[in-house]
């Protein structure tokens, strides 16, 4: 087999595995969310379908797939079908440049736990996630329903506002690392200071501020509580996907959770050392253990998401906009200046 065809085969296998794992992870994130929120509110949560409700996500997916798929009469048909696809594909795409683990050797095979290491990784992520806004805006527009249109507009205004502070907070990380490739950013975070403190970016002096601005804007970007204005059930009855049903609704749902997972993965990669962990174990575990550290950091972020959802009430829309433009944008601008001064002083 030539080198190129084995490359194609390997990449296809990787892509299929990643998509399958991502969808499975989304299903079980919904289970985790329902269970944790329920316990926060002193309820049981899903407990009937399977042991501790573990089969509930599968039942939910089957139900979603077998529901009637209606296209409302007033909708713009083509855009109505296109919108979930435009939302879903870019959301999943940003996972391609994130490294899940170290290069591993299984027998004679060398496996790299990353679909592709672009030299402009972060720029690529920003490019594709911005396309996701079109899915939401188009979905709201194409449904031709008052609630959907308002939800779509709100959502796009919110997403573009918080994208600014998201981009600015990443600039500070780039000042410290000096590369856009996520693989290299993770490599730079290996090792420890004084043998105890891991060399993660979060422990480099001003970067905890950029982590704060990054993560707050990321919660807003993914439309999660306390920033879930686009969906605000009690005023907009689910916002831009009010008119969607069955698998098309399912795709918007998938998109929201995939966004949560990718945003957590990016935060892990940029600030928390990616797949680096306290130990890489014996030789036979070298391939798998980095993957384990990476996944457990993501799960920690997801738990934080769920915790905020269970704790904080929703913002009002003017508060949301004021918070983004009058607090986060100036703070992250100031942080860029501070970081550049600190880096210049160190050099």
């Amino acid at each position: 087999m030539s080198e190129f065809s084995s490359f194609l085969l390997g990449t296809t296998i990787k892509c299929i595995v990643v998509i399958a794992v991502l969808i499975g992870a989304v299903a079980y994130t919904t289970w985790l969310e329902r269970k944790v929120v329920a316990h926060l509110q002193i309820r049981w949560g899903p407990s009937r379908v399977g042991w501790h409700g573990l089969l509930q996500p599968i039942a939910d997916v089957l139900k979603l797939l077998l529901k009637e798929d209606m296209t409302p009469g007033q909708a713009s048909k083509f855009l109505y079908v296109l919108a979930p696809l435009i939302a879903f594909v870019p959301a999943a795409l940003s996972i391609t440049v994130i490294p899940f683990g170290n290069v591993a050797h299984f027998g004679s095979q060398t496996v790299r736990f990353q679909i592709t290491d672009l030299n402009v990784g972060i720029l690529f992520i920003f490019a594709v996630t911005s396309v996701g806004v079109y899915g939401v805006a188009l979905g709201g527009w194409a449904s031709n329903n008052k609630y959907s249109l308002m939800g779509g507009l709100r959502s796009s205004a919110q997403m573009i506002s918080y994208e600014l502070s998201l981009g600015l907070s990443v600039v500070s990380v780039l000042l410290v690392t000096g590369t856009l490739s996520l693989g290299q950013i993770v490599d730079l975070q290996g090792g420890r200071w004084f043998g105890i403190i891991p060399k993660w970016n979060i422990f480099v002096f001003p970067l905890f501020i950029s982590f704060f601005t990054y993560f707050v804007s990321a919660i807003a970007e993914t439309n999660r509580l306390p920033f879930d204005l686009p969906e605000a059930e009690n005023e907009l009855v689910a916002g831009f996907h009010t008119e969607y049903s069955s698998m098309k609704f399912g795709m918007f749902f998938l998109t929201e959770y995939i966004n949560m997972i990718t945003v957590s993965a990016i935060a892990t990669t940029l600030f928390f050392g990616g797949w680096h962990g306290p130990t890489f174990g014996p030789l036979w575990l070298r391939g798998i253990l980095p993957l384990f550290w990476f996944v457990s950091k993501i799960v920690a972020f997801l738990l934080f998401y769920i915790w905020t959802r269970g704790t904080l009430p929703r913002f009002r829309y003017d508060q949301l906009m004021a918070f983004g433009w009058k607090f986060l944008v100036p703070l992250s601008l100031a942080n860029v200046v501070l970081t550049s001064l600190v880096v210049a002083w160190r050099a």
């Binding site: 990787k14 077998l66 672009l118 210049a344």
Partner: protein, 118 residues
């Protein structure tokens, strides 16, 4: 390195295929029973009185314009941040001047009330 982009194209193709194939396959087993009331816009059971695609508040346009201005500036910061170690003091001064001008504009916007959501 165009070879690095091939996996992304493949992932994109697979990502498009997955929902399209499921939608097409499930059409065979899914019930389909359209009804006039089901197909009408969702309005809590009341007939809609006017078209939803009306004019909406000018605030959304202002946010969009501000976004374009500031996002271009953010993109301008990226290459500077990557090459910061090479540019040195010159780069720092240049960027402080650039950000200074930008902050003056930002303060002006704030004073003008462009950031208020009324």
């Amino acid at each position: 390195m165009p070879k690095n982009y091939i996996p992304i194209l493949m992932f994109m193709a697979l990502g498009c295929l997955f929902p399209l194939v499921t939608l097409a396959l499930l059409r065979l087993i899914r019930p389909s029973d359209p009804h006039k009331a089901k197909l009408s816009p969702y309005e809590c059971g009341v007939d809609p009185v006017y078209q939803p695609r009306e004019r909406y508040t000018v605030r959304y346009y202002i946010v969009a314009i501000l976004f374009v201005v500031f996002d271009v500036e953010t993109v301008f910061l990226f290459p500077w941040a990557i090459r910061y170690d090479v540019l040195g003091l010159f780069g720092l001064m240049e960027m402080l001047v650039f950000l200074g001008i930008l902050v003056v504009g930002f303060i002006w916007l704030w004073k003008q009330g462009a950031l208020e959501w009324v």
